[in-house]
Point group: C2
Chain length 187, copies 2
Amino acid sequence: MKYPSYLKKTTEKTTNYSNRGMNLEEDINVTNDYYLQNNIAVIHKKPTPISVHKVHYPNRLDAVITKAYYKTKSTTDYNGVYKGFYIDFEVKETKNKTSFPKRNIQNHQIKHMMKVYDHGGISFIIVQFSLLDEVYLITIDKFITKYNEKSSSISIDYFKKNGYLIDKKYMPRINYLSIVDILIEKD
Amino acid sequence: MKYPSYLKKTTEKTTNYSNRGMNLEEDINVTNDYYLQNNIAVIHKKPTPISVHKVHYPNRLDAVITKAYYKTKSTTDYNGVYKGFYIDFEVKETKNKTSFPKRNIQNHQIKHMMKVYDHGGISFIIVQFSLLDEVYLITIDKFITKYNEKSSSISIDYFKKNGYLIDKKYMPRINYLSIVDILIEKD
């Protein structure tokens, strides 16, 4: 059966909305809320850095920003504390089925994560291969080996061998701290 | 000698600018840069949370935010990692000479810091009594005792007895990690 294009578009949107896996960031935020509410960990998403240029004050309390620009993130999106450990990570999605394009992550973010690693923090990247509905956690020390090679992407096989597949559940949706537990034990 | 008011204003501004101690946040940012550059710790100021309502795209790369509002901070301003420890703190100034008004710090920030403490992080408040040019570090577990009492402020004597005076230097300007070292050793 053929739908007119505008109907098809609506159907696609609905599908994407119900398949929560399409939005990894939202899944991670819900997971972090779960960790916080259940007293498991204190991990928050950092606000997006914005440089404010003009502010209008109609009165003392209601400031309206009327001109501002997005700034480049200097660190990662998420950090916090779990079992006394400093946790710091970045979250990325790709629609690629066989590899993760390196351009998806910025060089200064990799540098930041390596610094965290050097200072005894636990730092990693959570990568979702959205069309496969597979989510991997890979520590920054494993990631950087491939990142420093010349190729423009990292194969999914590398994630399978050097990272950890995270099972998706109802709640917590992306239980990445179960992998962090493995990392802590190995150490 | 009496100056006309506009001249006086200029003089005051110049004085404030040269007395860097008047801006504690700037001092802390410079200190954190020093820690980062000298490979001592990775501690950053979180961006101010802003809720974006309208964005104008003159072209694909240059997004201009044309309507946005400041949001309430849900956590603290600073966090990061030092010697493997999770560090989380808030920075406050007062012009009061004898006490710190409790209204200067928000209740949900105190709650956040206590959660960090419960999960094994090191959490504290750095308070500057600007007119005395004295900066104290007080851990959240000591701060909350007085915070939960009925009075509207906490006397400077409480900071002297239960906190740590931080010596100001040229560089690092506010060496609060020297106090964190004492906290780590005591633990």
